[in-house]
Symmetry: C2
Subunit: 253 residues, 2 copies
DNA sequence: GTAATAGTGTCTATGAGACAATATCCG
DNA sequence: CGGATATTGTCTCATAGACACTATTAC
């Protein structure tokens, strides 16, 4: 049985990045306009093939992050999102893509890289509503990434990764509002955040810039899982797509 | 830039399966004893290489499920768990493994397959406590699978996948207790399950077997996401390991 | 009857959400 | 001072958990 000369097939490995940030109070994702075939002229997630056989997936993701968004991995959240490897998803042959989710504080407009005709931040709403022509199965990957971010905001301290080194509680609230896409009560949000242990820690005196009473500044606290969690208010019957891959039955309220 | 003759490296793709079931009121995972190198004699998850270039990952997972556990995919939960592709994780070369999580109702003892010297259900506690010699990075994959199952029990109707076609509420409670590893109050559990819409639907009259009042029987309901969710009681300050993959230096920033 | 399990009612502490009220800045 | 934002206090309602209690079977 094990002595036959059969060898398993080999396939190409790619990494794709869903890089989310907050710009102009909106959740935005970094997209590049493809300058080469296939899908020339369509918009795609930054990403690329494994560079050599010994490169780890994480290393490849960090490399692409640096190449396409000029981001060092410092103070940056990066996690695996899932695998997308259906035969036929890439006309160049069998490609298995490992999608990653990256969260970044506010960043300047990017510049197009090697294979890209253009690169820019796109509001999530515009991207997911079918305004832009999207390459490959990237609409699905983006949707999965956004849903992952929404869920992680509830149970992890991810939201602080959207902010700079210091931030006010109102800044943090803006993150939740943008990612969840719903307004929140400032008073209740304030106490909720304070009650979650080790989420944020006060630092420095206060910021003095806008009108009104200055806000105290905070830094991300030492905890990564929130307890109690920041539960997201229910959203009636409309729900978000499941992150599962295999099964695809569901729906309910 | 794009005209150079460089081609991306190709790697082997494997699928591994974390198949969980309930036996003797304990959460158990299917393990096979390897009959060939590498790791001959160690215990590993069922799995194998992609069979040919056009086989989808899901199809490969289902095929292995059938081969190694004699399970058709009917009424069976199967979902993608994550990718494990560190260079050096397999001495045969670069292998990227796509791990899947499968949940099965109680099953008989399996029989060893092609490359396996033995195959059997192992209680999770025994496996994760380092009793058995485990192959590759499978300890990590198993831990990730169990943690995923624990979390999914809170927000999805996954628990019913552990049961047969019909079950009593007490049966369902046993699932939660085994997977979460904690006792639950039968009275409160009863009302909680009933209050979660479309989780379970009554069927048939009642089961009459053990002593005591017969229990009503139920079937899995039409919903996949639970609302309200079945929240798991807090477990003091000790927290569960993160499911993240990339950053291992975090905890904060 | 007793033992055993299924199912119901009730009490209480906690927590989320609504929202009034107060504090501290700018001009 | 008035305008604006930050922070605190209080009220109410829903619900999770503890647990006494009733129901229905086997023996």
């Amino acid at each position: 049985m094990n002595d036959d000369p059969w060898v398993p097939p080999k396939v190409m490995i790619a990494v794709d990045l869903v890089i989310l940030t907050l710009r102009a109070s909106r959740l935005q994702v970094l997209m590049v306009e493809r300058g080469i075939e296939p899908y020339r002229g369509s918009w795609a997630l930054p990403g690329g093939f494994l560079e050599h056989s010994e490169e780890s997936l994480t290393a490849a993701a960090h490399r692409e992050l640096a190449e396409e968004a000029a981001l060092d991995a410092q103070t940056l959240h990066l996690e695996q999102l899932g695998v997308y490897g259906e035969p036929g998803r890439d006309p160049r042959g069998r490609v298995v893509s490992v999608a990653h989710l990256a969260i970044a504080p506010q960043l300047p407009e990017p510049t197009a890289g090697t294979d890209a005709a253009d690169a820019r931040w796109q509001p999530i709403d515009d991207v997911l509503s079918g305004q832009l022509p999207l390459a490959f199965d990237h609409p699905r990957i983006i949707a999965d990434g956004v849903e992952r971010a929404r869920v992680k905001l509830e149970h992890s301290a991810l939201a602080t990764a959207f902010c700079g080194p210091t931030f006010s509680i109102t800044d943090l609230q803006a993150v939740y509002e943008a990612v969840w896409g719903m307004p929140l009560d400032p008073r209740n949000f304030y106490r909720k955040v304070q009650k979650t242990k080790d989420f944020i820690v006060a630092v420095g005196p206060a910021r003095r810039s806008t009108a009104g009473r200055p806000a105290r500044l905070y830094t991300a606290g030492p905890c990564s899982v929130l307890s109690p969690p920041m539960v997201r208010p229910i959203l009636s019957t409309a729900d978000a797509p499941d992150t599962d891959d295999c099964d695809s039955d569901d729906e309910e309220h």
